[in-house]
Symmetry: D2
Subunit: 406 residues, 4 copies
Amino acid sequence: MTPVSPAPRIPGHRFLHSPGPTRVPDAVVNAMSRQPTDLADPRVPALIAACEAGMKELLRTERADVFFYAANGHGGWEAVIANLVAPGTVVLVPGTGHFSDSWVAQVEAFGGVALRTPYTEGQPVDPAAVEAALRDDREHRITAVFAVHTDTASGTTCDLAAIRRAIDAAAHPALFVADVVASLAAAPFEMDAWGVNVAMGASQKGLMLQPGMAFIAADARAMAAARNNPAPRFYWDWVRRQSELQYRKFCGTPPLAHLAGLEASLALIAAEGLANVHERHARLALAVHAAVEHWGAETGTGGRLRLFTRAPAARSVSVTAIEVPAGVDPEALRTVARERFQVAVAGGLGPLHGRVFRIGHLGDMNEAMLLGCLAGVEAALRVQRVPHRGGGVEAALSTFTDGTPR
Amino acid sequence: MTPVSPAPRIPGHRFLHSPGPTRVPDAVVNAMSRQPTDLADPRVPALIAACEAGMKELLRTERADVFFYAANGHGGWEAVIANLVAPGTVVLVPGTGHFSDSWVAQVEAFGGVALRTPYTEGQPVDPAAVEAALRDDREHRITAVFAVHTDTASGTTCDLAAIRRAIDAAAHPALFVADVVASLAAAPFEMDAWGVNVAMGASQKGLMLQPGMAFIAADARAMAAARNNPAPRFYWDWVRRQSELQYRKFCGTPPLAHLAGLEASLALIAAEGLANVHERHARLALAVHAAVEHWGAETGTGGRLRLFTRAPAARSVSVTAIEVPAGVDPEALRTVARERFQVAVAGGLGPLHGRVFRIGHLGDMNEAMLLGCLAGVEAALRVQRVPHRGGGVEAALSTFTDGTPR
Amino acid sequence: MTPVSPAPRIPGHRFLHSPGPTRVPDAVVNAMSRQPTDLADPRVPALIAACEAGMKELLRTERADVFFYAANGHGGWEAVIANLVAPGTVVLVPGTGHFSDSWVAQVEAFGGVALRTPYTEGQPVDPAAVEAALRDDREHRITAVFAVHTDTASGTTCDLAAIRRAIDAAAHPALFVADVVASLAAAPFEMDAWGVNVAMGASQKGLMLQPGMAFIAADARAMAAARNNPAPRFYWDWVRRQSELQYRKFCGTPPLAHLAGLEASLALIAAEGLANVHERHARLALAVHAAVEHWGAETGTGGRLRLFTRAPAARSVSVTAIEVPAGVDPEALRTVARERFQVAVAGGLGPLHGRVFRIGHLGDMNEAMLLGCLAGVEAALRVQRVPHRGGGVEAALSTFTDGTPR
Amino acid sequence: MTPVSPAPRIPGHRFLHSPGPTRVPDAVVNAMSRQPTDLADPRVPALIAACEAGMKELLRTERADVFFYAANGHGGWEAVIANLVAPGTVVLVPGTGHFSDSWVAQVEAFGGVALRTPYTEGQPVDPAAVEAALRDDREHRITAVFAVHTDTASGTTCDLAAIRRAIDAAAHPALFVADVVASLAAAPFEMDAWGVNVAMGASQKGLMLQPGMAFIAADARAMAAARNNPAPRFYWDWVRRQSELQYRKFCGTPPLAHLAGLEASLALIAAEGLANVHERHARLALAVHAAVEHWGAETGTGGRLRLFTRAPAARSVSVTAIEVPAGVDPEALRTVARERFQVAVAGGLGPLHGRVFRIGHLGDMNEAMLLGCLAGVEAALRVQRVPHRGGGVEAALSTFTDGTPR
């Protein structure tokens, strides 16, 4: 076997501003570094119970069961699909962009029929379209609404409470399934209050863990639907996992390091206070918006940078997609930002590839980290001669210092 | 959210002698603790390429493709089943005990038909029975032989090369699928030389990683079978994953920490030398056998401890199952060993629950660790008044010191 | 600069049974790994205050001040000498073996006059000799008694309370200075109750830290003596360090990582309970004694292994020195134990070099670790053909399992 | 003992911009986290030899011996003093500000006589004054010149080569002793080429280690002077430490974790290339200067921020002292920067307390980290209503992007 060659030395730490994976805090690193135990050690069920309870608190649910999978976010989607979608099952997927499209493709791979509501770039889900689609479905063939809370590709967050109201207004019995991968522990989410039957997410975003674990929370209605679903499944099967037997609960070996990390992560969130976590994410997002709007002010030089999500209320607190002018290569910009200024931002996904770059600002993030990121991005804009008005960092930091005293 | 309460202080380190998860070496802990990067960082494909190449070397294959999943071992099984088994597909599962039974159950959950060869407790797979079953299958309905190399529950290892010869002797076109979860990087395995078409395993055993990653190696025949399989799948789909696009290769976010850990783990194996790794596992296993045989010598007090696997050649180098006399509760023994003497061993699975306990001796293990484990077990035997001849540790250590000089 | 070449791979963890440095627990490793802060960060004085308070609790003193030095144990000695010894100052150093001799040499390097009480190999300090020496000193020229609590070289612990009684019986005003380097957090120590004026120690033994920090606790009488001492000093100066100013308290930059580690270490001791810590050390020491006495039983083959410290009550709970028969090279034995069986034990110091080897059993240690160590030593005895009766491990483990139920 | 109470959660990482301690890179953290070995393990002398060789390369000396102390920087000074200064010994200490004053105080505590050259705020050492002082010393009573390369308090670096030329021009036999605490591995240093007889430094600055280790490099002339010095010493004694015996070399237990960290740190420096390390420090320093000069541009509002060190060539590449206008409290500014914006900068020392704050930019630092720091400082300037021209971050980042292409 070939020895591992050392990577070139990069001094200092890399600024990680992808919308996931996100920085892993020291306490979580330490927890994930604990040596494993034998699976029958009584500390294992105690750890699992703590994670289940903590996730229920975080999801704001008392009635759902929580399942953890060694899997990524697509595995989490597959868990939803495997349990709720048999060949021919119809679901409604409100259009959010790349991630609703991707979820649809995965539904269709299992023989499901995915209806969609129209998607307009830069706009969140239109609850009225959801309501109309459900009203049109007089035979109640639609079994579930699969809604992506924050579309990571566009940086747009939809109003899940409004979608709930749309379902209710249509008096439709469809299950309400929410993908909170990119929003949980960043934006408010109220599983019970919003009547969400299934919530799913993954470890490497607001939960501040390494990638590799997905979770599902499913309430009794969702479990009943799963029990009635004849499609074959084993690993993903909620019914099999709804067990006190650890071996069934995890379909084999639990992802111990991720669970240990989650316990630590939940403790960090609790120590900060969930409302403070949400407020911090909102504060950091506003600073990014200010920087981008400053960069994109009219400069007379042609195209300009702008926020991809037009409606301020729909801008995600987790990630901001920034549209570049025609002729600018956002991938080249990213390379300069990463390799020369140690700031890693994300690119455009799917149809947005080459049109946007994205700044992640979720998870274990603070003001100085964000300002350093913005400075690195601004430096890359200069190097790449992307038209922009200088001073975006100052615009961002002024959002922290102006206004009402804290 | 409730603060995490500290566990009671246990001085020193816990001896982990489960057959998986196993101890994670410092170099792997450090690698798994690295902060994630953005997914487009060029260091990510370099890491993936290193892991793929290293696994191919470890599996001794030049012709198979390797896929990594955020999943546990059952996820790895599901990957095999989802790609090779459609409803009605027939596979032959040679009887190895609990794990062949479990794999059968998972095959059946997908509508597959699993034929079995007989299983005799304490005995490995009988290649003649495999050959006979294949010869009986004149219409070649059997599409694959699913063989567990080491049944972790019984501590029995079968002779995969002999199974290959049995398939060849029957001139049967079935694919040969090997579960090397509990054997890889402990016992020799030769994917290409033994004509194995698919090998699968998981991270938390001989690879010395935290649980949470499974791998598949599939050759061209296996890929062709997968392409011809109409059963719905997405996350597990080899065809989709056989791509240069990272997003497809991992069906979303790669398990970065596990891949970084694997790169480190493979470097440790390379530094020791694979043949030395195998030799060390064999040496440690013999010491365990000596201790158990010493403990189980005729004492005139009724039942005795004995090695569950009767044939010495079939005893796993990874894990040893030890049968207890009637009336002895191995679970109580384990609790004493773990909670009073800091030695965690494993219990019996499935039908062996309450009949055996198991000592894992694979992965990042050395002589002193094993002797400490055996001493802790012997102390627990004394506390629990399990009939045994004292001095098992001495019997074990004498296997290290006697015989030909090293 | 030359790249660092990787050391050969040693599987598993090394058993560290030196009497210091000792194993560093994970919680301490994590604490010592925290990034430093700026020195004016208010978390620094909070950390220092926690360490001072915790050390006072551990030393069982309410009246002494605690000083921490970036230094090793000899630095701690030098702090004592620099503050209490001017040229011509007379101190009484009860004979404990190598470490009392070494302390004397250091006193003399500063022009001090060190009187000694006789030292008999294998015996602890004779309090009567101390009393006699002090009674003889009618002019009270002796300013201090410098007593090593546990002589790490011989594994012998003296009775500090009896020395205190000897000083009182002689009605002598000498300060009582105790070196608790090898005993603190292993054996009971009562600074105030035993009238100890100065206690000194270091980080890498019972405190379970990396080497590099020494501590001093000095009461008002000791501080008065220091103030009256005209000898030049700066770094070690207690008077300068007795300050609320952090910069003076540490004579510059504090050893932040060691302080963070100490806070964690003190928390571990508190979580276990100091009495339990002492009891555990006593229990582990008895097991070592049992093994050595078993190994050394009459075998008819000439010399035998024996415990260097003859009087059971004087045997240290931290470290055991084992005398080898003439003709046995303990250094070769150690090399085999370390390099072949991964068990690192200590050699003989000073006059005991080549006559003894030593097993450390202090700090973050448990039963299984100790039994693994003893097994490795016994394996090395076999390899080296050192005459011994086999079965020492069994003798040791029976001390854990026999007798009164726990 | 009181349980450790958790500190309030601070999200993200703290920006550490003190001039020491500095950020510890992951590779160094991992190395310092290695479990200790027994002191006779052959890996210990190998580690020591690697550190000695690496330090000689870094110091650019082939002829000096290197000694490592468990100590901080003041301990390093004390090592110099203890070996070279007896009561009455005369040394010349060129005035650099707070640190030359402090070194003088320590010399005087040992009875030495310290002559000084005049110090002018904001100016480096005047080599002509050194030459004049030495010429005046016709009887060659001055035994050594003690020069601080970079005065951490003022952020001023003197020209050691010019001081060497001054000594030569005066044809004076004084030893040349350089304090490179704040400059090594940041600014060029040439021990042999510049005729430096003794260099001393500490671990927590350019070497990127935790605080707690000091080093001395001494050549043959320095060793001869030490041998002739009758002053009592033991721990610091170079003559005793100039030994192949590890126990003498470290006067007891070596600071193993720091040595392991140093080996890793030297490997990082080698991987980057020492010239690149110097160039990076220069580049980052220029960016800080640009920001401060931008902030301090004429604003018409009275006082302004300015660089304390007037002569650009004398500005340290490690740390920048920034003078605040009258009426501005730099300590309050620091508190806001640290507690609200997670950017820890340093305050003024000695006479500069309340007049300056300092930004450290040495060690494991990159562009984005520095820009984040400057943004946090600028945010604090806004909050504290310190007069300044906004846009300092942009000024800084433009130094990275303008000018000749890289």
